[in-house]
C-alpha cells in the first residue's frame, strides 16, 4: 500500500496568533512552528497501516523553508520519504490553490491512500481534503474515527453530528482522520537519526510543473478587506461564593431572561 500523508506546519496550538498588517496573512514568525497536531494522527494511522500490511509512506507538505522541520518530524516517526513544496509564489495561497498544488503533486505518483488530519489548527477551514478528493476525482472518506483496509477496500467510521456513518470505497481514496483515532508515537532517538538520511524532494512551482498563475495571494478567490483585534470585552461581574453563588447566577440568568 502506497500512502501519502499531507501535513502542515502551523503556529504552536497553545500560542496566541495574529495576522500581519502588511498582507493580512498569518504571522508565522511570531510563534514556534509545529506539525499541525491533527496531522500527527494522520501520520500515525499511515504508519500503522503500513506496519500491518506493508507499503511505504510519503510525507507531502507545502510551506516556507522551515516547514522542512515538520517533514523531518514525520520521517523521524517512521515515514519513508518527503516532498516539500517551497516557493515564494505559494505565499498567500488560499485553500483552493493549496488543494490544486497538492492534487497535482499527488496525482501522478500512484498513491493508494492520501491521508490528512481533519483540519489545521490555524486556518481551521477543514476543506482541503474534500477539495483534493474533488480535484483527483477519487472517493472522499473523511472525518474517520476508524479505518480498516482489506485488499483494495477501505472502510471508515465517519464521525457525524449524531454518531457515525460507515462508509466504504476502493482505492485510491482520500482520507481524513479525527483526533483520537490513535495515539501518535513520539519519534525515537533511532528514528530521529534515521530521518536525517531519508530522501526529501524539494520542489519549486516550476519543478512541480504547477501553474504559477493559480497560486499565491494574487490568485486567491477570496480576499481580506480588513481585520482588527476584537475589542476587549467589557469586564463582567465577578463575585466570590459565600454559600449563595448558585442563587446569584440564577438571578443573573433570570435578569438576562435565560430562565
Amino acid at each position: 500500500m502506497k500512502i501519502a500523508v499531507c501535513v502542515k506546519q502551523v503556529p504552536d496550538t497553545w500560542a496566541e496568533k495574529q495576522l500581519k498588517a502588511s498582507d493580512s496573512t498569518l504571522d508565522r514568525e511570531s510563534a514556534d512552528g509545529v506539525m499541525n497536531e491533527l496531522d500527527e494522527y494522520a501520520v500515525e494511522e499511515a504508519l500503522r497501516l503500513v506496519e500491518a500490511s506493508g507499503g511505504d509512506v510519503t510525507i507531502v507538505t507545502m510551506g516556507p523553508e522551515r516547514a522542512a522541520e515538520t517533514v523531518r518530524k514525520a520521517l523521524s516517526m517512521g515515514a519513508d520519504s518527503g516532498v516539500h513544496l517551497v516557493d515564494a509564489g505559494f505565499h498567500g495561497s488560499d485553500a483552493l490553490a493549496t488543494s490544486y498544488a497538492l492534487a497535482e503533486v499527488i496525482k501522478d505518483r500512484g498513491f493508494d491512500l492520501v491521508i490528512f488530519g481533519s483540519e489545521s489548527t490555524d486556518a481551521r477551514m477543514s476543506v482541503v481534503p474534500a477539495m483534493v478528493a474533488e480535484r483527483l476525482g477519487v472517493a472522499q472518506l473523511t472525518f474517520a474515527q476508524k479505518v480498516e483496509v482489506s485488499g483494495s477496500d477501505v472502510t471508515i467510521e465517519r464521525v457525524t453530528e449524531s454518531g457515525f456513518d460507515t462508509v466504504t470505497a476502493t482505492t485510491p481514496v482520500v482520507l481524513s482522520v479525527v483526533e483520537k483515532i490513535n495515539e501518535p508515537r513520539y519519534p525515537s532517538f533511532k528514528g530521529i537519526m534515521a530521518a536525517k538520511k531519508k530522501p526529501v524532494e524539494t520542489l519549486s512551482i516550476a519543478d512541480a510543473g504547477l501553474d504559477a498563475a493559480k497560486l499565491g495571494a494574487s490568485a486567491a478567490w477570496s480576499s481580506v478587506v480588513d481585520f482588527a483585534a476584537r475589542p476587549p470585552k467589557a469586564a463582567g461581574v465577578v463575585t466570590t461564593d459565600e454559600g449563595d453563588g448558585g442563587v446569584k447566577i440564577a438571578q443573573f440568568l433570570a435578569d438576562q431572561k435565560f430562565i
Binding site: E134, T142, D244
Partner: protein
C-alpha cells in the same frame, strides 16, 4: 432581486434550526431559495422552510443521494449554480457543510469563505478567527460567492415564504458515487440538543475532577435544556467522550449562553467558545484566564455552586 441558494440541513426530514438562521440571512441578500438534497421532503419540511421565507424549494429528492457522503450536495448545488446564477450560496458551517462548500468551490471556480458569523448586503463576510481574538472582513473575488455560516450567528426571524416546490433531477458525478454509506450508527444522546446547534452549552473542565463529576454538569445542562461540552483536559482524561470537546482541536460553539465550570480558559479552549454571546464562569482559581471572558462569574467550588444553581433553576421553572 437575485436568488440566494441555502442548502438545507436536515435529519430524517426534520429541518434543523440553523437553516432558519441561514434563510433569515439570505433574505437580507436577495430572494432565498432552499435546496433540499436527499429523500424525506414533506409537508413538515415545507412548512419549516416557508416559515423563514423560502420563496422556492429545489428538491433533489432521489433516495440514492443519501447513500454517498457530502458530494451529492455539491453535485446538486453545482447544477443549480450553473442553471440559476444565484448571487450567493449559503451553507451551514458544519463538517459536512464545509466539505460540500469546498467541493462546490472547486467545481464552480468560485471563492469560498468558511465560518462566517455575518454576511453584509454587499457580500462582505465577517469571521471571528484565532479563538475570537481577531475579527476579519473578507469577500469572494471570483465566481459565485460561497459562504459557510456558523450556527447561532444569526437570529432567526420568521417571514412567510411561498416555498414553491421545484423538483430537480441531477446526475451524480462519477467520483461522488465512489464512496458508499453502508451503515449509520446513532450515538446515545440522552435527549440533549446537538452541541453545535445548542442555544445553551454547559461545559466542564479539569476542575470537574472525574467522570462521575460530570453528573453535576449534566444536571445543570438538563435543567437548562442545554448541550454538554468539555474542555480538552476533561476529554483527554477520559472523563467525558471526545466528541463533546470544545476548543481548537474540538468543536467551535457560539451559543447564546455558555457556562464554563472548572475550566481555566487556555487558548485551546477559548478558541472554541469565545464568541458565545453570554459567558458565565464558575472556577475556584480567581487567577484563571477564563474570568476575562465572563459576563458573570463566581469564584468558588463548582460542586457547591453548580448543584445550587440547578436547584434554583428548577425552583423557578
Amino acid at each position: 432581486m437575485s436568488e440566494v441558494l441555502v442548502l438545507v440541513e436536515q435529519q430524517d426530514g426534520v429541518v434543523k434550526k440553523v437553516t432558519g438562521e441561514l434563510l433569515t440571512l439570505a433574505r437580507s441578500l436577495g430572494t432565498p431559495s432552499a435546496v433540499w438534497v436527499g429523500p424525506g421532503y414533506g409537508d413538515a419540511a415545507a412548512a419549516a422552510l416557508a416559515e423563514f421565507g423560502a420563496a422556492t424549494v429545489y428538491v433533489a429528492g432521489d433516495a440514492s443521494f443519501a447513500d454517498h457522503p457530502v458530494a451529492p450536495k455539491s453535485d446538486v448545488l453545482a447544477h443549480l449554480v450553473s442553471e440559476k446564477a444565484p448571487c450567493a450560496v449559503l451553507v451551514a458551517s458544519t463538517a459536512d457543510g464545509k466539505e460540500a462548500a469546498g467541493r462546490l468551490a472547486v467545481r464552480t471556480n468560485s471563492g469560498v469563505i468558511t465560518d462566517a458569523v455575518a454576511v453584509s448586503a454587499d457580500l462582505i463576510a465577517t469571521q471571528s478567527v484565532f479563538g475570537g481574538s481577531t475579527v476579519v472582513h473578507s469577500q469572494v473575488t471570483s465566481g459565485t460567492p460561497i459562504f459557510t455560516v456558523r450556527p447561532n450567528s444569526v437570529a432567526p426571524e420568521a417571514a412567510t415564504g411561498a416555498a414553491v416546490r421545484v423538483d430537480v433531477t441531477v446526475a451524480l458525478s462519477a467520483s461522488t458515487t465512489k464512496a458508499k454509506v453502508i451503515g449509520r450508527t446513532a450515538a446515545v444522546k440522552g435527549g440533549r440538543p446537538e452541541l453545535a446547534e445548542a442555544a445553551i452549552v454547559v461545559s466542564g473542565g479539569r476542575g470537574v475532577g472525574s467522570a462521575e463529576g460530570f453528573g453535576v454538569i449534566e444536571g445543570l445542562a438538563d435543567a437548562l435544556h442545554a448541550a454538554v461540552g468539555a474542555s480538552r483536559a476533561a476529554t483527554d482524561a477520559g472523563w467525558y467522550p471526545h466528541q463533546y470537546q470544545v476548543g481548537q482541536t474540538g468543536k467551535t460553539v457560539s451559543p447564546q449562553l455558555y457556562i464554563a465550570n472548572g475550566i481555566s480558559g487556555a487558548i485551546q479552549h477559548r478558541a472554541g467558545m469565545q464568541t458565545s454571546k453570554t459567558i458565565v464562569v464558575v472556577n475556584k482559581d480567581p487567577e484563571a484566564p477564563i474570568f476575562e471572558l465572563a459576563d458573570y462569574a463566581v469564584v468558588g467550588d463548582l460542586f457547591q455552586v453548580v448543584p445550587q444553581l440547578t436547584e434554583e433553576i428548577s425552583k423557578r421553572a
